[in-house]
């Protein structure tokens, strides 16, 4: 019976990986197109930008808070059910956004529902599933691939979303996005694959309960350092995503190049994430992570110390793109090395929560300091300092199984 199940065509490794990557593309892509609706929605209801901005801030926070919960559900009930449920919540939230004519409804639809949907149908859940399905030597590569797919989603959905809005209007565009989100339900089917390496998986996991696992992880110094480091990642990424276009325009860069800057980051991110996965499989992940944070700080310093020109903009955004989500496969890989595969989605969820808190501060402090000092420079330098801090905290991480998880 089990052998017959494993022979199903959609349980072939290539199909599982392809389906998981498409889920990543959709999950990340639809979310990244949310910013395109700021103008049409605000204009339609005569809202100031704060209303939609707050809905998106709530979305990010809910995403972070829900990630460990969604992870725990995935570890308990399996990733496929969680992704399918998440797809329904995601689609419901996106479709409801087109009817949300009051701020409260927008906070609920675009903030809470979409945020919860992204968390439950996220690439973190997909990566956790991949971690259980592929042998240890391929894990880092497959994490890089899933992250890279998410980045590709960001790149391809932005123009697609703009095209939908231009061709069909923003309300129909949201419906189309919701329909695309529902595609994740059939795509989750291959993730129901019985773990072919069940016995091997059992061998690499300690027999402890989830509560004990979370308690032990939160008390493990290397895990705490990893969580602190990922806070910095969130801070830097969110600050650059939200405030870089405005910074560039302030320095005389044309509006369309400023708007394209994040697209340049996106395309180089596809390459960077994939390569980070490969590097993580060959070299020590903690050292690679430290180097990434160090290089980020270095590139920001160079960018700040040289005149802002179209060339420097392209060079900076391409460099940042290579280092953008390249932290994800390495961080996920480290969590798996320390704690095994059994509670990976839950434990990575806690690391990701720290990322989202960092994102909140990156966006908020960027705006706050700009209002106070009329410049983004203080927050740029704060990002540099935090990058150096992250490089330092990754260095002493012990890249080995945590004592409580030893088998």
């Amino acid at each position: 019976m089990a052998a017959a199940l494993q022979r199903r065509w959609f349980f072939a490794p290539g199909i599982i990986i392809t389906a998981g990557c498409i889920i990543s593309i959709i999950s990340f892509g639809v979310r990244s197109s949310m910013g395109l609706f700021t103008h049409p929605i605000s204009e339609a209801y005569q809202w100031n930008r704060e209303v939609y901005g707050l809905a998106m801030a709530i979305q990010n926070l809910v995403w972070g808070i829900m990630q460990p919960i969604a992870g725990a559900m995935a570890d308990r009930f399996g990733p496929a059910k969680v992704v399918a449920t998440g797809a329904v919540i995601y689609a419901l939230g996106t479709a409801l956004m087109s009817f949300a004519d009051t701020p409260a409804l927008m906070y609920l639809a675009g903030g809470v529902l979409v945020g919860a949907g992204i968390a439950t149908a996220s690439f973190s859940i997909v990566m956790a599933a991949f971690g259980r399905l592929v042998p240890p030597e391929k894990r880092s590569w497959v994490f890089g691939l899933a992250t890279s797919a998410g980045s590709l989603g960001q790149f391809i959905f932005a123009p697609l979303g703009q095209g939908f809005i231009a061709a069909f209007g923003w309300q129909n565009a949201l419906f189309l996005m919701a329909a695309i989100t529902l595609l994740m339900i059939p795509l989750a089917l291959p993730l129901t694959a019985p773990v072919a390496r069940e016995q091997a998986t059992a061998k690499e996991n300690a027999q402890i309960g989830m509560r004990e696992a979370v308690r032990s992880a939160l008390g493990h110094p290397s895990f705490v350092l990893l969580v602190l480091g990922f806070f910095v990642c969130g801070f830097q990424l969110a600050f650059v995503t939200i405030h870089l276009p405005a910074y560039l325009v302030e320095h005389g860069i044309s509006e369309w190049l400023a708007a394209s800057a994040i697209a340049i980051v996106g395309i180089f991110n596809v390459i960077g994430s994939y390569c980070a996965g490969i590097i993580g499989g060959k070299y020590r992940k903690r050292i690679s992570l430290a180097m990434i944070y160090l290089l980020r700080s270095l590139f920001v310093i160079l960018f700040l110390m040289t005149p802002v020109t179209p060339l420097s903009t392209v060079v900076f955004t391409a460099s940042m793109g290579l280092l953008w989500l390249s932290t994800v496969p390495l961080t996920m890989g480290l969590v798996m090395v320390m704690f095994g595969t059994r509670y990976i989605a839950t434990l990575y969820g806690f690391v990701f929560l720290s990322h989202q808190v960092g994102s909140f501060f990156g966006v908020w402090l960027g705006g706050k300091f700009h209002d106070l000092y009329g410049s983004y420079d203080p927050v740029w330098w704060m990002g540099v300092a935090l990058g150096l801090f992250a490089a330092l905290v990754h260095w002493p991480i012990r890249e080995e199984r945590a004592p409580a998880f030893a088998v």
Binding site: G14, I156, P159, L160, G163, A166, A259, S260, V270, Y274
Partner: protein, 127 residues
């Protein structure tokens, strides 16, 4: 080693498949943005690659329009012309296509628009 190559091949196939689907989606959007000969106002004018900037300006003047801004592609310009039939006159004077303002970076839009214009040309060829 062979396993690694197969892995990278899978990643490449996946990326290419996604890009093909994306290109199909974008092609549909660009086709729907192609302007008929009666159109006027602000639009994206696409010329043959290698057309000199002087020739492009001459075309614009002859068609009764003016340049608004160039793009990273020297043969794609954002232009404007008020008189009815501006898009048709642009094509009569040598532009390969005229498109409504496409909602993404003009360089990307220009590349796609050029490809679209060339395909449209193929389908309108008469024996």
């Amino acid at each position: 080693m062979a396993g690694r190559t197969a892995d990278h091949r899978l990643a490449l196939k996946l990326a290419l498949s996604v890009l093909v689907v994306w290109l199909i989606g974008m092609a549909i959007l660009v086709r729907s943005a192609a302007l008929g000969p009666d159109a006027s106002g602000k639009m994206l004018a696409v010329f043959e690659p290698g057309t000199s900037q002087d020739a492009i300006f001459s075309t614009l003047v002859a068609a009764g329009g003016k340049p608004i801004r160039n793009t990273w592609l020297p043969f794609v310009w954002v232009v404007a012309g008020d008189g009815a039939g501006f898009a048709g006159r642009l094509k009569e004077h040598g532009a390969v296509g005229a498109y409504g303002e496409l909602p993404f970076a003009p360089s990307v839009a220009g590349c796609l628009a050029y490809a679209d214009a060339k395909v449209a040309e193929l389908f309108t060829l008469r024996p």
